[in-house]
């Protein structure tokens, strides 16, 4: 199976081709084909994982093209890292695709949605299997394209169209940096194959500041895709897309691509001078983790809260990779993919029911939608790192590694943990506790997403009757919840941390266990929950008074630290000034010269125009006459 692993991405690709061309005529209007493609790919991925667990390994390479003396080789790699990712992407994407059948029901472009979904799955699996920067870059662009298509899926809404553009352009900035980085590598190493590059670096053929530069440029791509500071601005806006898209792209797969890139090219960072590049990775991750968590506190849109939480968690992964916690970071990526997909899908289930994204319009849903509530709760507990849920193990491993490397980074992470519990507690109590506050569940609509609107439109007069989502949506939730609850044990030290033994980077020692640190981080997480309870459940400290006393901070957070505005200002205002200056220069200096030249030419032309016969015969004759004369003159000399 490992030798033919390249078939895995082709399954969704085949589904894409079938669905995009003949979708309406296929079973389930294309959805079933799409599901079949990804489920088969998931099964194959699991089979590959099984093989790799048994020690299999493959890195075949094929010559694609010979350009002069240069050789372009392509290939794919199956090792523990990619096998784990294959299995994760396959399983999560399958569940989300199945869920989408329920969520997207009634949408006008139902078939096209599944086609795009398949294309995206192809791109992601392709990315995972890439064994060279060329494929990696192609896959990066492909996932970027798919995310554009899917975020802007409801492109009739200007916000969605703008969000799609924003996501595309912002990630392109990162991709461009990555392209420069890989060109730099190609220039110095002469190959784009990962193993070739790593070998060249290990042998000392390529190092020093240039290596650090290349590593950081590649990191730029990762930052763009994983929505790290400073290229994070697109992720919250990307929530305009349908919820399964948010779950698939912005939780489980595409955003993980950046982290995966760093993990895949880890030697690049690891071997840079005194881990310089790794330190940058760690700090970017740590700052993003805290920064995004603070933003999550003031957001009312349930999906956006989850988006900030995703950013924050991606920050943890980066942090983990940056502090030599290679296995920890990857493990967090895997567990996070499951519980964040779960959270998004559960949120989607809620949104379908209440037809709004605003948490303040919800409330009391725990009784109405028990399955959604319990699964959402499981995901939340996993996310906040409460033992023994999945997130606890992975996040704790990252914090442990951070503590060993750099106390400041640990502090950033620990604050993030507290805030995570706080904002997730806020979500739970706003959305699921208390009484239903939706002003008119009878008149849904408002800023609601297209699908819920359609959903509500179908349900007609009996709209007020909120109810649990259909089984096709809840089943994936339950399955994902099982993963969220139990997956963490794979990384548990009590059973010998099988994950770290499977996926690890040679040369990196796992830090020793530290029980105190463990307790502290649990305490911090619990403290976050308690604080959330104090504010939003027992209302010991009402949130209004908090908002008043922290007025400036609140405003700052509400405006997302003014980063969007900063970008707007820098790129628009400053740009405008530059443009105005350039315009003035152009108008007076350049145009003046041009006009002068024009005037001169015109005067000249008035005299010389009789030479222009407008016939190529004359011109050609003159050209050759000139040649003859020049040669004759030269000979006569």
């Amino acid at each position: 199976m490992t030798q033919i692993a390249w078939i895995i991405p082709l399954l969704p690709l085949a589904a894409f081709v079938l669905v995009i061309f003949w979708g309406e005529r296929l079973p389930g209007r294309g959805a079933f084909v799409s599901i079949a493609g990804i489920v088969l790919a998931a099964l194959a991925g699991l089979a590959v994982l099984g093989d790799v667990l048994g020690g299999a390994h493959a890195d075949p390479t094929y010559t694609w093209a010979v350009v002069g003396r240069r050789l372009l080789t392509v290939g794919f790699v199956v090792d523990p890292l990619s096998a784990v990712m294959l299995a994760m992407v396959g399983v999560v994407a399958s569940l989300i695709t199945i869920y989408s059948v329920g969520y997207m029901a009634g949408d006008a472009r139902y078939t096209r949605f599944f086609a795009y979904f398949s294309l995206f799955q192809f791109s992601m699996l392709f990315l995972v299997l890439a064994d060279n920067f060329l494929f990696m870059y192609m896959a990066f662009e492909l996932v970027g394209l798919c995310s554009y298509l899917l975020i802007g899926f409801w492109f009739e809404r200007p916000k969605a169209a703008r969000a799609a553009l924003k996501a595309f352009i912002t990630t392109r900035v990162g991709d461009f940096s990555m392209m420069i980085g890989l060109l730099l590598l190609y220039l110095h190493v002469g190959s784009l194959r990962f193993t070739d590059i790593f070998r060249a670096i290990e042998l000392g053929g390529f190092g020093g500041p240039m290596l650090t530069t290349a590593a950081l440029l590649v990191l730029g791509g990762a930052i763009g895709k994983s929505a790290q500071i400073p290229l994070h601005v697109w992720l919250p806006d990307a929530m305009e897309g349908p919820t399964p898209v948010s779950a698939l792209i912005h939780a489980a797969t595409m955003v993980a691509a950046g982290v995966y890139l760093v993990a895949r090219t880890y030697p690049l960072f690891f071997l840079s001078q005194s881990h310089e590049a790794l330190t940058v990775v760690a700090y970017i991750g740590g700052i993003t983790a805290l920064f995004a968590a603070t933003l999550g506190l003031v957001e009312d849109d349930i999906k956006r809260v989850l988006a900030y939480s995703t950013m924050s968690q991606l920050g943890y992964m980066m942090l983990g990779l940056g502090v030599l916690g290679y296995s920890a970071g990857m493990f967090h990526l895997i567990t996070h993919a499951f519980f964040k997909a779960l959270l998004f899908l559960a949120a989607g289930s809620v949104i379908t029911a209440v037809a709004t994204n605003d948490m303040k319009q919800m409330g009391g849903l725990a009784r109405i939608m028990p399955v959604t509530f319990w699964t959402f709760l499981a995901g939340t507990l996993a996310l906040t790192g409460i033992p023994p849920f999945a997130g606890f193990f992975s996040k704790d491993a990252i914090l442990l590694a951070a503590w060993t490397q750099d106390k400041l980074l640990w502090a950033l992470g620990a604050c993030g943990v507290f805030l995570t519990s706080l904002y997730m507690g806020r979500v739970i109590w706003y959305a699921f506790a208390g009484q239903y506050r939706g002003a008119g569940a009878a008149q849904p609509g408002g800023p609601g997403t297209g699908a819920p609107a359609a959903h509500a439109a179908r349900s007609g007069h009996d709209a007020p009757a909120l109810h649990e989502s259909p089984a096709i949506m809840t089943t994936p939730l339950v399955i994902l919840a099982v993963f969220a609850v139990f997956l963490g044990w794979l990384g548990s030290e009590t059973i010998g941390n099988p994950f770290a033994r499977f996926v690890h980077f040679p040369g990196v020692e796992a830090p020793p266990q530290n029980l105190w640190l463990l307790l502290v981080s649990i305490l911090i997480a619990v403290a976050g929950w308690v604080a959330a309870g104090a504010v939003y459940l027992w209302r010991i400290v009402p949130s209004d008074s908090l908002r008043r006393s922290f007025g400036p901070v609140y405003t700052l957070l509400l405006h997302k630290y003014y980063i969007d505005d900063l970008y707007a200002w820098v790129f628009l205002r400053l740009g405008a000034v530059v443009v105005w200056l350039a315009g003035a220069f152009d108008q007076y200096v350049v145009d003046g010269l041009v006009n002068l030249t024009g005037w001169l030419s015109r005067q000249l032309g008035l005299g010389l125009r009789y030479l222009q016969t407008g016939r190529e015969e004359t011109y050609l004759l003159l050209v050759f006459l000139g040649v003859v004369i020049i040669v004759l003159v030269r000979l006569a000399w």
Partner: protein
């Protein structure tokens, strides 16, 4: 006179003779038809130069396609209706002088220069040419195919009737 020399002179006479007809005939159709022996003469020269593949392509493209295209366009436009219209513009004399001078110049250069002479004579197979095209000359090959595609599209766009 060796066989090669005989062949060369015969081909030279055919090529240049038809070339003269091409450039001097007042009947455009005669010019176009005279292109065929001119091209076939050049084909013969290629055969003498051991370039069989180029020779066959020359027949296929020049004699088989371009000439037909030219004849086709002549007949689609005015055909022989222009028999009484002068076919040469007013720069005939100067043109002849310049052309003669160019021929003399190039011939002088060719006669005076000494060229490095390669030793081996090889048989070039189509396989060699294919290998060369897809190997060291890949970029040129791809570039040419793009030009071909673009001109194909361009020719269709230009020539089709507005509707």
């Amino acid at each position: 006179m060796s066989g090669e020399a005989l062949a060369f002179w015969v081909l030279a006479v055919i090529t240049l003779g038809s070339g003269v007809v091409v450039v001097t005939s007042h009947n455009i159709v005669h010019s176009a038809v005279a292109l065929v022996p001119a091209f076939l003469g050049v084909t013969g020269l290629y055969v003498l130069l051991n370039a069989e593949f180029v020779a066959v392509i020359q027949v296929l493209i020049y004699a088989g396609a371009i000439t037909v295209l030219i004849l086709f366009v002549i007949m689609l436009t005015e055909g022989g209706t222009g028999l009484r219209v002068p076919q040469r513009n007013e720069q005939g004399a100067v043109g002849a002088a310049v052309a003669l001078a160019m021929a003399a110049l190039l011939s002088t250069v060719a006669l005076r220069a000494t060229w490095g002479i390669g030793t081996r004579t090889l048989v070039y197979t189509p396989g060699d040419i294919g290998q060369s095209f897809l190997g060291p000359n890949l970029l040129v090959f791809e570039g040419t195919s793009i030009v071909l595609l673009v001109s194909l599209i361009g020719a269709i766009i230009i020539a089709r009737k507005e509707d």
